[in-house]
Protein backbone atom coordinates (compact mmCIF):
# COMPACT_ATOMS: atom_id res chain seq x y z
CA UNK A 1 0.00 0.00 0.00
CA UNK A 2 2.85 2.35 0.94
CA UNK A 3 4.56 1.51 -2.33
CA UNK A 4 1.37 2.44 -4.18
CA UNK A 5 1.16 5.78 -2.37
CA UNK A 6 4.83 6.50 -3.03
CA UNK A 7 4.37 5.66 -6.70
CA UNK A 8 1.34 7.94 -6.95
CA UNK A 9 3.20 10.77 -5.22
CA UNK A 10 6.17 10.34 -7.58
CA UNK A 11 3.77 10.41 -10.54
CA UNK A 12 2.15 13.65 -9.36
CA UNK A 13 5.59 15.24 -8.90
CA UNK A 14 6.62 14.10 -12.38
CA UNK A 15 3.36 15.53 -13.79
CA UNK A 16 4.00 18.89 -12.08
CA UNK A 17 7.51 19.02 -13.54
CA UNK A 18 6.12 18.15 -16.96
CA UNK A 19 3.45 20.87 -16.69
CA UNK A 20 6.17 23.42 -15.87
CA UNK A 21 8.29 22.23 -18.82
CA UNK A 22 5.23 22.28 -21.08
CA UNK A 23 4.48 25.90 -20.16
CA UNK A 24 8.10 26.92 -20.69
CA UNK A 25 8.53 24.91 -23.90
CA UNK A 26 8.77 26.92 -27.13
CA UNK A 27 5.46 27.25 -28.97
CA UNK A 28 6.98 25.30 -31.89
CA UNK A 29 7.02 22.16 -29.71
CA UNK A 30 3.32 22.55 -28.85
CA UNK A 31 2.44 23.29 -32.48
CA UNK A 32 4.36 20.21 -33.67
CA UNK A 33 2.48 18.09 -31.12
CA UNK A 34 -0.90 19.50 -32.22
CA UNK A 35 -0.05 19.03 -35.90
CA UNK A 36 0.99 15.41 -35.29
CA UNK A 37 -2.37 14.59 -33.68
CA UNK A 38 -4.28 16.39 -36.45
CA UNK A 39 -2.48 14.38 -39.12
CA UNK A 40 -3.19 11.18 -37.17
CA UNK A 41 -6.93 11.95 -37.43
CA UNK A 42 -6.94 13.23 -41.01
CA UNK A 43 -7.33 9.83 -42.79
CA UNK A 44 -10.38 9.02 -40.62
CA UNK A 45 -11.98 12.36 -41.53
CA UNK A 46 -11.35 11.71 -45.23
CA UNK A 47 -12.83 8.24 -44.93
CA UNK A 48 -15.89 9.67 -43.19
CA UNK A 49 -16.43 12.31 -45.88
CA UNK A 50 -15.92 9.85 -48.70
CA UNK A 51 -18.38 7.35 -47.19
CA UNK A 52 -20.99 10.12 -47.09
CA UNK A 53 -20.28 10.94 -50.74
CA UNK A 54 -20.62 7.25 -51.61
CA UNK A 55 -23.99 7.05 -49.85
CA UNK A 56 -25.19 10.12 -51.78
CA UNK A 57 -23.90 8.57 -55.03
CA UNK A 58 -25.88 5.35 -54.51
CA UNK A 59 -28.95 7.31 -53.47
CA UNK A 60 -28.77 9.28 -56.73
CA UNK A 61 -28.01 6.18 -58.75
CA UNK A 62 -31.23 4.58 -57.55
CA UNK A 63 -33.32 7.28 -59.28
CA UNK A 64 -35.18 6.44 -62.48
CA UNK A 65 -33.84 7.19 -65.97
CA UNK A 66 -36.82 9.48 -66.71
CA UNK A 67 -36.06 11.53 -63.62
CA UNK A 68 -32.39 11.90 -64.62
CA UNK A 69 -33.33 12.82 -68.21
CA UNK A 70 -35.69 15.55 -66.92
CA UNK A 71 -32.95 16.88 -64.61
CA UNK A 72 -30.47 16.89 -67.53
CA UNK A 73 -32.93 18.79 -69.73
CA UNK A 74 -33.48 21.42 -67.01
CA UNK A 75 -29.72 21.73 -66.52
CA UNK A 76 -29.19 22.27 -70.27
CA UNK A 77 -31.70 25.15 -70.20
CA UNK A 78 -30.00 26.73 -67.18
CA UNK A 79 -26.60 26.36 -68.90
CA UNK A 80 -27.88 28.12 -72.02
CA UNK A 81 -29.18 31.05 -69.94
CA UNK A 82 -25.89 31.21 -68.02
CA UNK A 83 -23.82 31.31 -71.21
CA UNK A 84 -25.67 34.44 -72.30
CA UNK A 85 -24.99 35.98 -68.89
CA UNK A 86 -21.29 35.06 -69.05
CA UNK A 87 -20.96 36.93 -72.37
CA UNK A 88 -22.71 39.94 -70.86
CA UNK A 89 -20.40 39.91 -67.81
CA UNK A 90 -17.32 39.60 -70.03
CA UNK A 91 -18.30 42.87 -71.76
CA UNK A 92 -18.80 44.52 -68.37
CA UNK A 93 -15.43 43.21 -67.15
CA UNK A 94 -13.62 44.65 -70.17
CA UNK A 95 -15.26 48.01 -69.65
CA UNK A 96 -14.40 47.86 -65.94
CA UNK A 97 -10.72 47.16 -66.67
CA UNK A 98 -10.63 50.04 -69.18
CA UNK A 99 -12.15 52.48 -66.67
CA UNK A 100 -9.74 51.34 -63.92
CA UNK A 101 -6.81 51.95 -66.27
CA UNK A 102 -8.07 55.43 -67.14
CA UNK A 103 -8.63 56.44 -63.49
CA UNK A 104 -5.52 54.59 -62.14
CA UNK A 105 -7.75 52.84 -59.62
CA UNK A 106 -6.23 50.19 -57.30
CA UNK A 107 -6.56 46.71 -58.72
CA UNK A 108 -8.62 44.51 -56.33
CA UNK A 109 -7.09 41.29 -55.01
CA UNK A 110 -7.35 38.31 -57.35
CA UNK A 111 -8.32 34.91 -56.02
CA UNK A 112 -7.91 31.29 -57.00
CA UNK A 113 -11.04 29.32 -56.14
CA UNK A 114 -10.56 25.91 -54.52
CA UNK A 115 -13.74 23.87 -54.17
CA UNK A 116 -13.73 21.57 -51.14
CA UNK A 117 -16.13 19.09 -49.52
CA UNK A 118 -17.06 19.49 -45.86
CA UNK A 119 -15.76 16.62 -43.70
CA UNK A 120 -17.18 17.45 -40.25
CA UNK A 121 -18.84 20.28 -38.35
CA UNK A 122 -17.94 21.12 -34.79
CA UNK A 123 -19.69 23.68 -32.64
CA UNK A 124 -19.73 24.71 -29.00
CA UNK A 125 -20.38 27.95 -27.15
CA UNK A 126 -16.79 29.00 -27.87
CA UNK A 127 -16.25 28.00 -31.46
CA UNK A 128 -18.22 27.19 -34.60
CA UNK A 129 -16.06 25.41 -37.12
CA UNK A 130 -16.15 23.13 -40.12
CA UNK A 131 -13.34 20.94 -41.40
CA UNK A 132 -12.88 20.63 -45.17
CA UNK A 133 -11.08 17.92 -47.12
CA UNK A 134 -8.51 20.17 -48.77
CA UNK A 135 -5.36 21.56 -47.19
CA UNK A 136 -1.84 22.79 -47.75
CA UNK A 137 -1.29 20.27 -50.55
CA UNK A 138 -4.10 21.98 -52.51
CA UNK A 139 -2.70 25.48 -52.06
CA UNK A 140 -4.99 26.64 -49.24
CA UNK A 141 -3.47 29.23 -46.91
CA UNK A 142 -4.57 30.48 -43.47
CA UNK A 143 -6.73 33.60 -43.54
CA UNK A 144 -8.31 32.83 -46.93
CA UNK A 145 -12.04 33.65 -47.18
CA UNK A 146 -14.50 30.79 -47.61
CA UNK A 147 -17.72 31.31 -49.57
CA UNK A 148 -20.69 29.43 -50.96
CA UNK A 149 -21.97 31.17 -54.09
CA UNK A 150 -22.04 34.86 -53.14
CA UNK A 151 -22.45 34.11 -49.43
CA UNK A 152 -19.62 34.29 -46.90
CA UNK A 153 -19.22 31.09 -44.91
CA UNK A 154 -16.15 32.02 -42.85
CA UNK A 155 -12.40 32.17 -42.90
CA UNK A 156 -9.65 29.54 -42.88
CA UNK A 157 -8.02 29.49 -39.44
CA UNK A 158 -5.75 26.46 -39.60
CA UNK A 159 -4.33 24.56 -42.55
CA UNK A 160 -2.95 21.04 -42.36
CA UNK A 161 -1.61 18.77 -45.10
CA UNK A 162 -4.93 17.48 -46.40
CA UNK A 163 -7.52 19.22 -44.22
CA UNK A 164 -8.32 22.81 -43.18
CA UNK A 165 -10.33 24.29 -40.34
CA UNK A 166 -12.75 27.13 -41.01
CA UNK A 167 -14.14 29.56 -38.46
CA UNK A 168 -17.76 30.27 -39.42
CA UNK A 169 -19.23 33.79 -39.59
CA UNK A 170 -20.94 33.20 -36.24
CA UNK A 171 -17.80 31.98 -34.45
CA UNK A 172 -16.48 34.28 -31.67
CA UNK A 173 -13.10 34.55 -33.45
CA UNK A 174 -14.62 35.98 -36.65
CA UNK A 175 -14.47 39.74 -37.38
CA UNK A 176 -14.95 41.83 -40.52
CA UNK A 177 -16.28 45.17 -41.72
CA UNK A 178 -19.55 45.47 -43.64
CA UNK A 179 -22.09 47.72 -45.35
CA UNK A 180 -25.81 47.61 -44.65
CA UNK A 181 -28.48 47.43 -47.32
CA UNK A 182 -30.49 50.64 -47.43
CA UNK A 183 -27.66 52.81 -46.08
CA UNK A 184 -27.06 55.29 -48.91
CA UNK A 185 -24.04 56.84 -47.19
CA UNK A 186 -22.28 53.46 -46.95
CA UNK A 187 -21.35 53.71 -43.28
CA UNK A 188 -19.00 50.95 -42.21
CA UNK A 189 -20.29 48.59 -39.53
CA UNK A 190 -18.47 45.84 -37.66
CA UNK A 191 -19.51 42.17 -37.72
CA UNK A 192 -18.17 39.78 -35.11
CA UNK A 193 -19.26 36.35 -33.91
CA UNK A 194 -20.60 35.90 -30.40
CA UNK A 195 -20.41 33.04 -27.92
CA UNK A 196 -23.48 30.91 -28.52
CA UNK A 197 -25.77 30.71 -25.49
CA UNK A 198 -28.88 29.04 -26.79
CA UNK A 199 -30.05 25.92 -28.56
CA UNK A 200 -31.21 28.07 -31.49
CA UNK A 201 -29.31 29.24 -34.55
CA UNK A 202 -25.90 30.76 -33.87
CA UNK A 203 -25.75 34.46 -34.72
CA UNK A 204 -23.16 37.20 -35.03
CA UNK A 205 -23.31 40.76 -33.75
CA UNK A 206 -23.44 43.82 -36.01
CA UNK A 207 -22.17 46.88 -34.14
CA UNK A 208 -21.39 50.55 -34.86
CA UNK A 209 -24.65 50.98 -36.80
CA UNK A 210 -25.31 54.74 -37.20
CA UNK A 211 -28.19 56.11 -35.11
CA UNK A 212 -29.96 57.50 -38.16
CA UNK A 213 -29.96 54.17 -40.05
CA UNK A 214 -33.41 52.80 -40.78
CA UNK A 215 -33.94 49.33 -42.20
CA UNK A 216 -35.68 48.91 -45.57
CA UNK A 217 -39.39 48.28 -45.10
CA UNK A 218 -40.89 44.87 -45.73
CA UNK A 219 -37.69 42.84 -45.95
CA UNK A 220 -34.73 42.02 -43.72
CA UNK A 221 -31.69 44.22 -44.46
CA UNK A 222 -28.81 42.38 -46.07
CA UNK A 223 -25.24 42.84 -44.79
CA UNK A 224 -22.43 42.98 -47.38
CA UNK A 225 -18.65 42.79 -47.13
CA UNK A 226 -16.80 46.04 -47.80
CA UNK A 227 -13.76 44.56 -49.54
CA UNK A 228 -11.53 46.66 -47.28
CA UNK A 229 -8.56 44.99 -45.65
CA UNK A 230 -8.00 42.71 -48.63
CA UNK A 231 -9.42 39.56 -47.02
CA UNK A 232 -12.95 39.32 -48.44
CA UNK A 233 -13.94 40.51 -51.92
CA UNK A 234 -16.52 43.31 -51.77
CA UNK A 235 -20.33 42.88 -51.99
CA UNK A 236 -20.50 39.31 -50.73
CA UNK A 237 -23.51 38.62 -48.50
CA UNK A 238 -22.69 38.00 -44.82
CA UNK A 239 -26.32 37.56 -43.79
CA UNK A 240 -29.41 39.49 -42.71
CA UNK A 241 -30.12 41.80 -39.81
CA UNK A 242 -32.26 39.93 -37.34
CA UNK A 243 -35.37 41.93 -36.36
CA UNK A 244 -34.69 45.51 -35.38
CA UNK A 245 -31.73 47.48 -34.16
CA UNK A 246 -31.24 48.51 -30.56
CA UNK A 247 -29.23 51.30 -28.96
CA UNK A 248 -25.95 50.46 -27.22
CA UNK A 249 -25.27 51.39 -23.60
CA UNK A 250 -23.36 54.48 -24.65
CA UNK A 251 -26.12 55.37 -27.07
CA UNK A 252 -24.01 56.80 -29.87
CA UNK A 253 -24.51 53.79 -32.10
CA UNK A 254 -26.96 50.97 -32.54
CA UNK A 255 -26.43 47.19 -32.62
CA UNK A 256 -28.23 44.26 -34.11
CA UNK A 257 -27.82 40.53 -34.62
CA UNK A 258 -26.82 38.95 -37.90
CA UNK A 259 -28.44 35.76 -39.14
CA UNK A 260 -26.33 33.89 -41.72
CA UNK A 261 -28.10 33.76 -45.07
CA UNK A 262 -27.59 30.00 -45.33
CA UNK A 263 -27.74 27.20 -42.82
CA UNK A 264 -24.00 26.93 -42.27
CA UNK A 265 -24.29 23.49 -40.68
CA UNK A 266 -25.92 21.93 -43.74
CA UNK A 267 -23.31 22.93 -46.33
CA UNK A 268 -21.81 20.00 -48.23
CA UNK A 269 -19.34 21.98 -50.34
CA UNK A 270 -17.64 25.37 -50.08
CA UNK A 271 -15.17 27.43 -52.13
CA UNK A 272 -11.96 28.74 -50.61
CA UNK A 273 -10.81 31.96 -52.28
CA UNK A 274 -7.03 31.81 -52.03
CA UNK A 275 -5.44 35.20 -52.83
CA UNK A 276 -2.98 34.90 -55.73
CA UNK A 277 -0.62 37.22 -53.89
CA UNK A 278 -0.04 36.89 -50.14
CA UNK A 279 -1.38 39.86 -48.17
CA UNK A 280 0.01 41.18 -44.84
CA UNK A 281 -2.91 39.74 -42.85
CA UNK A 282 -2.05 36.21 -43.96
CA UNK A 283 1.51 36.55 -42.75
CA UNK A 284 0.15 37.45 -39.31
CA UNK A 285 -2.27 34.49 -39.37
CA UNK A 286 0.55 32.07 -40.12
CA UNK A 287 2.19 33.04 -36.86
CA UNK A 288 -0.95 32.15 -34.89
CA UNK A 289 -2.73 29.41 -36.73
CA UNK A 290 -5.23 28.05 -34.29
CA UNK A 291 -7.00 31.14 -33.06
Amino acid sequence: MDQNRQGARASYVALSVFVALWILAPSAVRRFNREAFVEFQAPALHLLGKSRDLATFWEKKSRSVEEMAAAGRDLARVNAALEIQINKFEDIRRENVRLREITHYNVPAEYMSVVARVATRDSSSWWQRIVIRKGRNDGIRPGAPVVFGNTVVGRVTAVHLTTSEIDLVTSPGFRCTAYLEGDDQNHIVLVNGVASNSLGTAKARVSVIPRDYSMPAGQPARVFTTGMGGVFPSRLILGYLDGGTYATQVGNFKESLLVPSRDLYNLQEVSVLVPLHQNPGEALMQGDQFQ
Binding site: N33, F40, L48, R121, S124, W127
Partner: protein, 170 residues
Protein backbone atom coordinates in the same frame (compact mmCIF):
# COMPACT_ATOMS: atom_id res chain seq x y z
CA UNK B 1 2.99 -5.72 -23.05
CA UNK B 2 4.59 -2.29 -23.46
CA UNK B 3 2.61 -1.21 -26.51
CA UNK B 4 -0.77 -2.14 -25.04
CA UNK B 5 -1.68 1.52 -24.56
CA UNK B 6 -1.18 2.21 -28.29
CA UNK B 7 -3.31 -0.76 -29.39
CA UNK B 8 -5.93 0.35 -26.90
CA UNK B 9 -5.84 3.87 -28.33
CA UNK B 10 -6.36 2.53 -31.87
CA UNK B 11 -9.27 0.40 -30.62
CA UNK B 12 -10.81 3.38 -28.79
CA UNK B 13 -10.44 5.81 -31.72
CA UNK B 14 -13.55 4.59 -33.61
CA UNK B 15 -15.61 5.56 -30.54
CA UNK B 16 -14.05 9.03 -30.54
CA UNK B 17 -14.79 9.32 -34.25
CA UNK B 18 -18.36 8.24 -33.57
CA UNK B 19 -18.59 10.98 -30.93
CA UNK B 20 -17.33 13.48 -33.53
CA UNK B 21 -20.07 12.28 -35.90
CA UNK B 22 -22.67 12.80 -33.19
CA UNK B 23 -21.22 16.29 -32.50
CA UNK B 24 -21.57 16.97 -36.24
CA UNK B 25 -25.27 16.16 -35.95
CA UNK B 26 -25.63 18.33 -32.84
CA UNK B 27 -23.64 21.21 -34.38
CA UNK B 28 -26.62 23.55 -34.79
CA UNK B 29 -27.28 23.37 -31.03
CA UNK B 30 -23.67 24.25 -30.09
CA UNK B 31 -23.24 21.08 -28.05
CA UNK B 32 -20.38 18.59 -28.16
CA UNK B 33 -20.75 14.87 -27.69
CA UNK B 34 -17.85 14.54 -25.25
CA UNK B 35 -16.53 11.02 -24.53
CA UNK B 36 -12.81 11.41 -23.81
CA UNK B 37 -13.22 11.17 -20.01
CA UNK B 38 -15.26 7.97 -20.21
CA UNK B 39 -12.71 6.27 -22.46
CA UNK B 40 -10.15 6.61 -19.67
CA UNK B 41 -11.95 4.70 -16.91
CA UNK B 42 -11.73 1.04 -18.04
CA UNK B 43 -8.03 1.14 -19.08
CA UNK B 44 -7.07 2.55 -15.67
CA UNK B 45 -8.25 -0.75 -14.10
CA UNK B 46 -5.85 -2.93 -16.03
CA UNK B 47 -3.02 -0.94 -17.54
CA UNK B 48 0.11 -0.09 -15.61
CA UNK B 49 0.25 3.46 -14.36
CA UNK B 50 2.71 4.73 -16.97
CA UNK B 51 0.67 3.11 -19.74
CA UNK B 52 -2.54 4.69 -18.44
CA UNK B 53 -0.78 8.06 -18.35
CA UNK B 54 0.37 7.78 -21.98
CA UNK B 55 -3.10 6.66 -23.05
CA UNK B 56 -4.73 9.59 -21.21
CA UNK B 57 -2.34 12.13 -22.75
CA UNK B 58 -3.07 10.84 -26.26
CA UNK B 59 -6.84 10.94 -25.62
CA UNK B 60 -6.57 14.57 -24.53
CA UNK B 61 -4.35 15.63 -27.41
CA UNK B 62 -6.69 13.95 -29.91
CA UNK B 63 -9.58 16.10 -28.64
CA UNK B 64 -7.48 19.27 -28.49
CA UNK B 65 -5.93 18.86 -31.95
CA UNK B 66 -8.99 20.09 -33.85
CA UNK B 67 -10.34 22.61 -31.35
CA UNK B 68 -9.16 26.05 -30.19
CA UNK B 69 -8.34 25.02 -26.63
CA UNK B 70 -5.14 26.16 -24.89
CA UNK B 71 -2.52 23.50 -25.65
CA UNK B 72 -2.31 20.67 -23.16
CA UNK B 73 -5.06 21.73 -20.75
CA UNK B 74 -7.33 18.74 -21.34
CA UNK B 75 -4.49 16.27 -21.92
CA UNK B 76 -2.71 17.14 -18.68
CA UNK B 77 -5.98 17.08 -16.74
CA UNK B 78 -6.69 13.59 -18.08
CA UNK B 79 -3.17 12.53 -17.10
CA UNK B 80 -3.77 13.75 -13.52
CA UNK B 81 -7.05 11.81 -13.43
CA UNK B 82 -5.33 8.70 -14.84
CA UNK B 83 -2.73 8.86 -12.06
CA UNK B 84 -5.50 9.19 -9.47
CA UNK B 85 -7.61 6.34 -10.87
CA UNK B 86 -4.68 3.96 -11.33
CA UNK B 87 -3.58 4.68 -7.75
CA UNK B 88 -7.09 4.12 -6.34
CA UNK B 89 -8.28 1.07 -8.22
CA UNK B 90 -10.60 0.07 -5.42
CA UNK B 91 -12.87 2.93 -6.54
CA UNK B 92 -13.43 1.35 -9.96
CA UNK B 93 -13.33 -2.31 -9.00
CA UNK B 94 -17.04 -3.00 -9.68
CA UNK B 95 -19.52 -1.84 -12.33
CA UNK B 96 -21.41 0.73 -10.20
CA UNK B 97 -18.07 2.26 -9.21
CA UNK B 98 -16.99 2.43 -12.85
CA UNK B 99 -20.27 4.04 -13.90
CA UNK B 100 -19.92 6.62 -11.14
CA UNK B 101 -16.32 7.27 -12.11
CA UNK B 102 -17.22 7.60 -15.80
CA UNK B 103 -19.89 10.22 -15.07
CA UNK B 104 -17.67 12.20 -12.68
CA UNK B 105 -14.56 12.08 -14.90
CA UNK B 106 -16.46 12.97 -18.08
CA UNK B 107 -18.29 15.88 -16.45
CA UNK B 108 -15.12 17.24 -14.78
CA UNK B 109 -13.03 17.09 -17.93
CA UNK B 110 -15.88 18.65 -19.91
CA UNK B 111 -15.98 21.49 -17.38
CA UNK B 112 -12.20 21.90 -17.70
CA UNK B 113 -12.27 22.34 -21.50
CA UNK B 114 -15.27 24.65 -21.30
CA UNK B 115 -13.56 26.94 -18.78
CA UNK B 116 -10.23 26.78 -20.65
CA UNK B 117 -12.00 27.76 -23.88
CA UNK B 118 -13.79 30.64 -22.19
CA UNK B 119 -10.43 31.86 -20.88
CA UNK B 120 -8.86 31.89 -24.35
CA UNK B 121 -11.93 33.08 -26.29
CA UNK B 122 -11.85 36.59 -27.78
CA UNK B 123 -15.56 36.98 -27.07
CA UNK B 124 -16.81 37.87 -23.57
CA UNK B 125 -18.99 35.32 -21.78
CA UNK B 126 -22.51 36.56 -21.14
CA UNK B 127 -25.26 34.39 -19.77
CA UNK B 128 -23.70 31.05 -20.64
CA UNK B 129 -24.80 29.27 -17.47
CA UNK B 130 -27.66 27.50 -19.24
CA UNK B 131 -25.44 26.35 -22.08
CA UNK B 132 -22.77 25.13 -19.65
CA UNK B 133 -25.41 23.22 -17.67
CA UNK B 134 -26.71 21.58 -20.86
CA UNK B 135 -23.20 20.63 -21.97
CA UNK B 136 -22.36 19.12 -18.57
CA UNK B 137 -25.67 17.26 -18.46
CA UNK B 138 -25.01 15.80 -21.90
CA UNK B 139 -21.45 14.85 -20.88
CA UNK B 140 -22.77 13.13 -17.74
CA UNK B 141 -25.42 11.14 -19.61
CA UNK B 142 -23.14 10.23 -22.50
CA UNK B 143 -20.35 9.32 -20.09
CA UNK B 144 -22.55 6.93 -18.14
CA UNK B 145 -24.33 5.31 -21.08
CA UNK B 146 -21.20 5.16 -23.25
CA UNK B 147 -19.08 3.43 -20.63
CA UNK B 148 -20.50 -0.08 -21.09
CA UNK B 149 -19.89 -0.53 -24.85
CA UNK B 150 -16.56 1.29 -24.70
CA UNK B 151 -15.34 -0.74 -21.72
CA UNK B 152 -16.42 -3.96 -23.48
CA UNK B 153 -14.36 -3.03 -26.55
CA UNK B 154 -11.36 -2.01 -24.49
CA UNK B 155 -11.49 -5.13 -22.30
CA UNK B 156 -11.76 -7.33 -25.39
CA UNK B 157 -8.59 -5.75 -26.79
CA UNK B 158 -6.77 -6.10 -23.47
CA UNK B 159 -7.84 -9.78 -23.24
CA UNK B 160 -6.56 -10.38 -26.74
CA UNK B 161 -3.25 -8.78 -25.78
CA UNK B 162 -3.18 -11.10 -22.73
CA UNK B 163 -3.05 -8.24 -20.27
CA UNK B 164 -4.01 -9.65 -16.88
CA UNK B 165 -6.34 -7.72 -14.58
CA UNK B 166 -3.96 -5.48 -12.69
CA UNK B 167 -3.59 -5.91 -8.93
CA UNK B 168 -4.84 -3.18 -6.61
CA UNK B 169 -1.23 -2.10 -6.07
CA UNK B 170 0.36 -1.18 -9.41
Amino acid sequence: MGWAWLFLLLATYPWLLGADLASDTLASSSLIFFLSGTCLVAPCRRLKRWQAVLFAACLGFLFEARRPIPDGVLALSLVAIAIFLSSNRQLIRNTPGMLRAAAVVNVSTCLIWFLASSYSSPSPATDLTGQLFLQLLLAGIVGTIGLLPIALTQNAVLDRLSIPPAPDNP
